[in-house]
Amino acid sequence: MTTVVRTRRPVASHRARPATGRSGRRRYSGLLMAAPALLLFGLFGLVPLVGVLVLSLSRWDGLGSIGWSGFANWTGVLTDGATWQALWLTVKVMVVSWLVQTPVALALGLFQAPRGRLRALFAVLWFLPLLLSAVAIGLTWQALLDPSFGIGAAPGLHWLAKPLLGSPSLALYTVIFVIAWQFVPFHALLYQAGVRQIPVSLYEAAAIDGAGPVTRLLRITLPQLKYTFVTSSTLMLVGSLTYFDLIYVLSGGTGGPGTATRVLPLAMYITGFQTHDMGRASALATILVVFGLALSLLTTRLSGFTRMDSQQEGM
């Protein structure tokens, strides 16, 4: 059955279109089918997108009535050094995470791609972090990196008995490491799937031409992974805006020590739900929305991620 389903043809030729007769009734049922999802997504996805902009122009403590405040929140947010620091930390986490995760994920994906029992065992082990919640991962690493009772107490690992999460200069990099621990397995899976999709015929042709392993890697594997690379990078960059859970837990909800790990989502949460200044928090959230949309627009433009057709067409 699935072989029938998976047959690939150019999109236009096999898209099922309703017959022309009874089209009135058809359109009606089509609308009815689309409605529940649109309603749900509209209410909790699209309305809040506009709502956050409106709220950024208002005064609200999260409990009482909402009042109009004009651009006060915006002038407040934009002249506050803390906003710019949060933005800078967000960009830093984004860029460093990408630089750390991409090569590791690529290497692991390449290793995992050939099938085999030993590799399958490694794949199972590597997959485990993906099952844990960010909270579980945060609590684990927080306890594991405790200078007195953590892993630093193990023989040979005393160099780890440092306040890695408590030091303002090291905390951000420790957070970036834990983020990598959580997400590298996922990106390795993407690269593994990417490598497995490369047609064997390309390697066979290269073998006939006498290409060695390095040439094959540089001339076939890496160029063929272009789309996977863009997809993985997009998800990493856009995803890095959402590293809230992990940083929240690792820093005990403060984005600390001090403000050393207070990225934009955390600054927004603290302003809104701890300082009870929802208007100002909404201004920060709006920056986050614009940031997210701009990033994904940019990367989808570059990658053609939105194209629904197969990249293997014509192979």
């Binding site: 996805g45 309305v47 919640s133 960010a134 856009v238 959402t242 709006t286």
Partner: protein, 276 residues
Amino acid sequence: MSTVVATLRRTASGGATLVWTALVVVPLYWVVVTSLRGRSDFTMGNPLALPGRPTLDNYRTVLDGDFTTYLLNSVIVTVATVAIVMAVALMAAFSIVRYTNPWSRLTFRLYLLGLAIPLQAVIIPVYLLIIRMQMYDSLLAIVLPSAAFALPVTVMILVSFLRDIPRSLFEAMVVDGAGDWRMLLSLAAPMARPALVTVAVYDGLQVWNGFLFPLILTQSGDKAVLPLALTLYKGEFGIDVPATMAAVVLSTLPMLVVFVLARRQLVAGLTAGFSK
């Protein structure tokens, strides 16, 4: 020459593999052995050694508390969310594939846009909506927004799957006089079953591990789901790390079971729609 390079490459990738495996396995091993340690065993001695006298006391501490309540809440929230998303997204994906008018294209673009909305960015308006809808501090307050934010990716995956169903099958049903609803139920749904299972497992994992919506939209302990409960344990147990680790293990066990039963679907779900 090339064999030397190949050997070097194999050694390098083998070395990297071992390092990464250690990085993954050692912390997980530590979680398990710590959860089996007594208090004094934890504060003294080698944290990576096997516990001198393994004990299940920490698990007892966790289970004697409200763990079953949290577990039940997590199960209710996850099952309800996945059920809603599957039903609603399948209908939406079907109508997007069946109708190629501008409206259906616009809907599709909206879901694409939805992929790029960071959850945190809209949490304040969602919080306001939930308060105004009188749903604050209920499980439904977690279910509805979680379902809404699972929709974009679910619809995208289902659309790309339904598009591959040969047109002739639909035409045959039209000839038989079938309407849209019958086509959805007796053609699209059965044929999309592998995709539905995959995406259900994926959505389920996301909702099970979700933290932000429970954190913001619920308050009382009897409405807490597991990830939120873990942070409560942290406050409750304080420096009792072994008990916290036991809670971490217990909260992960259900997903471990899913992983054992449906590893293929889980892996496929994580890469579906992205690795195409």
